[in-house]
Every structure is written in C-alpha cells, then in structure tokens.
C-alpha cells in the first residue's frame, strides 16, 4: 500500500516536472524569437490607449475612469485572444511542421503533461499581459481592481477557454505556420467585435446583442468589466462566470479530444 502511494507520488512529481519542462521550453523559445512577445505587448497596449482616449471623450468621464472601463475588456478580449488562442495554434503547428512531435512521443512524455505545459506557458503570458495592461492603465489614472481573486479566476477561465479552442483549431485546421494568422483573424475578429472587446456591447443592435450572448468572449468581457471596473460581486456576475466555466470546460475537453485525434493522425504518417 505504501509502495503504491510512493509510486503515485513519484508519478505525480514526474507529471509536474514534465508540465513545467514543456511550459519552460515554450517560454524560452518565445523569448528567443521575441517577435511574438513584442506583438502580444504592442497590440493590447495600442487598443487600450485608443479605447481609453475615445471613452474619455464621453461626458462626465475622467481619463482614469475611461481607462478603468476599457482595461478589463482589452485584457480578456484583445490580449488573451491573440496570445492564448493564437499561441497554442502556433506551437502545435510548429511541432507538427518540424516533426518534433515525433521526438516528443518517442520519449515517455505524457500527453496530459504536454497539454498542461502549453496551458502553463500561455497562462504565464496571459498573466504577464494582465500586469502590463494594468500597469499602463494605472499610469493614466485607473484604479486597480479590488476583487483580485475573482478577477484572477475569470482571467484563468478565459485563458483555459482560449487554449482549448486553440488546440481544437490547430488540430483540425492548422497545417502550416502560414495558417496561424489567417485562422486567428478569420475566427477571431468577428467574435471580438461581437464580444465587446473593441467597443461596449451596449452599442450593438438588439439582434446582434442576442447573438452575442452565445459568444464566450461577451461573457468574459462582461464578467471582467463588472468585477474589475465596477467592483461587482460574484453574485452579480454569476451567470457570466457560470457560462464561462462551462465553456472553458467544454473547450478544454474538445481541445483534448482534438489533440488525441491529431496524434492518431500524425502517427499514421510516421512510417
């Protein structure tokens, strides 16, 4: 019994090390290449500045209030979308193109640890983007969110949802690195517009607003703005958080299934 517990502990430890190794490897590659990291910093900051200054034009709105309103939607809508969805797509496609998948699966690496490692890497990028967005927003007078725990929970759920969708898209549609930009733009930009990432959803006509309620990005931005900008409690954003949790779970499940399906397809090529 004790031996069994010890084996379980060893397996858990090894799983953790593999997860961290995959995450660390992806982060080192991103730091070496620099371009993606720079783009993932510039894009949300430029959207934050544009939206912040536009929102500040509204009557009875200070610059600080404007930045406080746009920072949450910029973070979960704009920043995480491109890094946490586009990033896993690029990672999976690159592994496929360079055949490093083959090398990985010659090793004892567990598929779950690989999946988790990607989540860890892009989770770290997402948290970094959160710090950057709020650093800039506070420079223009925005106040930091008070309900930090709930805000971080929404942030992590959003990252999980994006990573899951990223895996699904990469597994089924991604064939070469040229596909990354096209896939992210084709799926992303309409969803971002409809989700309130670029402008408040109150500007949407009724029919589009009804449609937006099926869009997970809508629930991410609604929940995050309510918690981080307006200081609302969990009870007040419960529906959005529940929708988002359900979607994140679904996205991760479908992502995992797609990943396993892709591996079977890849193996058939290893002749």
């Amino acid at each position: 019994m004790r031996e069994f517990a010890s084996e379980r502990r060893q397996a858990g430890l090894q799983y953790g090390r593999e997860t961290l190794a995959v995450g660390q490897r992806i982060l080192i590659e991103l730091i070496r290449r620099q371009r993606s990291l720079i783009a993932w910093a510039i894009f949300p900051i430029s959207i934050l500045l544009l939206n912040g200054f536009i929102m500040a034009q509204a009557p009875s709105q200070t610059l600080g209030q404007a930045f406080q309103q746009v920072a949450p939607s910029t973070l979960v809508g704009v920043a995480l979308f491109f890094s946490c969805m586009g990033g896993p797509i690029a990672t999976v496609i690159a592994e496929r193109e360079h055949q490093t998948f083959r090398r990985l699966f010659m090793s004892p690496l567990s598929g779950l640890a690989y999946f988790s490692g990607i989540f860890v890497a892009y989770g770290a990028i997402g948290i970094g983007q959160g710090l950057l967005v709020y650093l800039v927003a506070t420079c223009f007078g925005a106040a930091l969110p008070t309900a930090l725990g709930l805000g971080i929970a929404i942030l992590l759920l959003s990252i999980a949802a994006y990573v899951g969708v990223g895996f699904t898209v990469a597994a089924h549609l991604g064939r070469s690195t040229d596909d990354v930009g096209a896939l992210v733009s084709a799926f992303g930009v309409p969803l971002l517009m409809l989700g309130g990432a670029f402008f408040p959803t109150k500007l949407l006509p009724d029919q589009l607003l009804q449609l937006a309620k099926f869009n997970p990005i809508y629930h991410m931005t609604k929940a995050m703005v309510a918690v981080a900008a307006n200081g609302q409690s969990f009870e007040q954003v419960k529906n959005h958080v529940l929708f988002l949790s359900g979607f994140a779970l679904l996205a991760l499940s479908v992502g995992w299934w797609s990943y396993c399906h892709m591996l079977r397809a890849e193996r058939s090529l290893w002749r």
Binding site: Q14, R17, E18, H98, S107, R267
Partner: protein
Amino acid sequence: MLNLRHISKSYDRTPVIQDLTLEIAKGEIYGLLGPNGAGKTTAINIICHLLNPDSGYVLVDGQLSTKAIKPLIGIVPQENLLYKSLTCVENLQFFATLYGLWGSQREQRIDHCLQAVGLSDRAKSPAETLSGGMLRRLNMAIALVHHPKLLILDEPTTGLDIEARYDLWDLIRQLQQQGMTILLTTHLLEEADRLCDRIGILKQGCLLAEGTVAQLRQLIPAQEVVLIQTSESERAIARGQAHGLINRRYGSDIGFWLTETRSLADLLTLFEGIPLDSISRRAIGLEDIYLEITHGQTSPPTQPQRSPVALSLSALERANHSLS
C-alpha cells in the same frame, strides 16, 4: 536485449513488415540494411512503441513493448528533431527532464553527453547556429542523455562529411564498449561492414538474410568477382558462361564470380579476343551480398537454416512475389 517476434504491419492493406523475427543480444551492434521502403523505419517505430504491429510482439530487455519501455530506448531519428532556438544544454535539459532526470544527476548526464559527442564548447550555442554535423551530434546526445540500454540509430551518418562520419563511428564503438546494445539502419554498406557484429537484410518488409559478414559471404558461391567493361558484352557473357562462370550486372560493368582466385594473366586469356575497356577484380564484399539478396538472384539453399547464416526461403519468395 531486443526480440522481435513475428511482427507484421500493413498500411491500407499493403504489407510493410511481414512476419519479422529478429533477436539482438546485449552489447551487440546489429545493422538493418535494405532499400528505401523496405520497412526499416516502420520496424523502428514499432520497437519504440510509436506504432502498434498488426500481429506479433516486441520484447525489450525481457519486457513487452509498452510505454514503460521508453526509458530503456534512445533513438537517433533520421532527421535532426530538435528545438532550433534552444541551446544545446537547453535541448538536453528538456529531454532529460522528460526521461525523469532532475537536479545534479541531470546536469552530470548533460555534461557527460556533451563531452561524449564533442559539443562541450558549444553547450550554450543555440541549435540553429550549429553546422549539420554538430546538429547530428546533438541529436545523438539527446538520445543518450538518459543512458538507454538500447540505442537505435536510423541512418545516423547520412549527410555527414567523412571526418564527422569517422567521429560518429568512434562514438558508436565506445558506446558498445560500455555495454550498450545498438540497432543501426543504414544505406552505407561500408558503415555496416565496419561497425556491425551482425547484419540483417530487409526487403519488402521481409528479413531475407542475417548473420555476420563472414556468414553472409557464404551465400555467394565465389571468392572473388572480376569486373569488366566491354563494348561486346554479349560475347563476354557467353565466354564466361562457357567457362562455367556466373555473371551479374553492376551498372555498366559485367561481373563474373570466381570460385577460386585466378591470376590476371588467366583472366586476360579467358576473355581473349574480346575488346576490354577495363578489367579488375576484388574479393566478394557486403555490396555483392546485398545486391545479390535484394535483387533476388541467389538460389536459396536446399535446406534453409537460421544458423550460422539464416536465409529465409519463404521470406525471399514473398518478397520476390510482391515485387513481380
């Protein structure tokens, strides 16, 4: 150390491996030769548990091939499957962690492997800045980092210059001296001849013959082969046949097998009256054996035997049948 028992594998009903059975002893270097598409890489993928066979099984160090045997095996694939923006050390750290190495043990293994492949001075260099030969050596270091019992080298020296090739051969010999079992696939017959204790020849997924080079040489009933170039090849062949010599084509050359060593004067007399552009002779080598077996011209022995040299009559027939 490695046992393959009656392995068969098909893709879309096309057989790629047919009833493959082979055994490699601990500390042995076994060379698997065969033309492109013979099933060498598929066999490796089955051994590494990347593919499942349709029938048969694999034993590595007495254990059935499952995920659990992966730490026992180190693989050097044909391509340099590396993370190009990572340094040599970072690549090794990553793969060592996947194999369960950690802390000072991991760092010691990395230092040892870098030293073994001669990359210690490039430890901090990103892989993308290394030459082709260095990338190949890093590929080798990754396969060795967890100190496997069985090392599989899939065409390890393809594309390397002669010096890098000699260095890699030295390393392979050192690994054998350390007790490592090595399975090597190659197109370079010289490589197989120099390195391998035993050789298996695979064609159309069938193991046609296996044994030491000396044992395989017994498949050809000749001591030497005389090669001639002539504009009157039909006459030369007829002359050879009249003297009981078996002839073979070697590109534009015609080869005649000699059952015993003859002097050059004798040979010139033999072909007297036929205009010869060149004539040379050499001992029967692995090239002759390989060509003979893969082109299916050898008459199988009346009683196929597995030892000392195994020539599978049914395998030969199957391979020739699938070619026709």
